[in-house]
Symmetry: C2
DNA sequence: GGCATTGACTTTGATCATCGTAGTGACCTA
DNA sequence: TAGGTCACTACGATGATCAAAGTCAATGCC
């Protein structure tokens, strides 16, 4: 945190203050592309975030208004985190982050991003944001945007 | 730096490892939108980066292949930093960062971003990337992409 | 040629953040 | 009621960041 609040009124700087650290954007990725929703799921991310940093980042993202924390109704131990509309609005940013990052990472044959990047950008963003509004994500779960996009592509062919 | 090299092969993580800190993306903003090119210009950024951190980030961005360091031919004290093609490819990311950030910052009447966001995204990205290839930037300098876009918009009207 | 200045960094020492590991305590499950 | 799960906290060591001052070559000005 530190001097982070309001170094300037530049929009880019605002984005940097919200997502410009080693973990915040990865948490948003887990939430929005993989459909992770609980502390434990985020903890088990590929990049191995520690619990103290995770707790701090979730609190910050909540304070920033991009995610909400909701205690589970069925299990009082559990808490679910989900994206607000402001968080959903960051999906194009995440999309461009994934697109640019593809150029620096080995191409994997069956990476679903390969298929996604071949689709129309606007279609992808629409389906993705809609899926998140309905509790889904890009790749995670049965009602994933990816599944819907693939089905539509097949139908059009 | 630290454990930063290759936590995973996820493209989003690769982007985070390159730009995911408080300063790297702001340096790219200064370079690509404002047309700054020298150490001193970056130092005088609105957000007041310190010289040691700036030196470190410039070195990292160079190692990442998004910028190049070139000693000036006319003045042997000076060094100019400019974007590589890989850096130019990050322009859509910067565009989305600015777009998302607009929602968290007070709207300023004469902010050129307001005008840019009203234009066609594809046109803006094209003109912007072309301007950078020619040594310009989005807003900085006479041959700015912004000036060109405004002129074209006026001609079309 | 001398001298203040510019420009690109380094150095330094104090402060701050992050890391990994080990809890803690409420809660559910058998 | 014993054992596990879950969402965090606490902690000490390590690493990054900060502001301010300093280095040093190159330049502009007289």
């Amino acid at each position: 945190m530190k001097r982070a609040e309001g170094r300037s009124t530049c929009p880019t700087n605002f984005t940097v203050e919200t997502f410009g650290d080693s973990w915040s954007l990865l948490i948003m990725r887990d939430l929005l592309t993989l459909g992770k929703h609980t502390f434990g799921e985020f903890l088990r991310s590929e990049e191995r975030i520690g619990p103290s940093v995770l707790a701090d980042r979730l609190a910050r993202l909540e304070r920033s208004g991009v995610i909400v924390r909701t205690p589970s109704e069925t299990d009082a131990r559990k808490v679910t985190y989900s994206a607000t509309e402001r968080g959903i609005a960051a999906i194009p940013l995440l999309y461009e982050a994934a697109r640019w990052g593809r150029g620096g990472v080995p191409v994997e044959e069956d990476d679903p991003w390969e298929a996604v990047m071949a689709m129309d950008r606007h279609d992808v963003l629409d389906a993705w944001q809609q899926a998140v509004r309905e509790g889904g994500s890009l790749f995670g779960g049965a009602e994933s945007a990816f599944a819907r996009l693939i089905a539509r592509a097949r139908a059009d062919a």
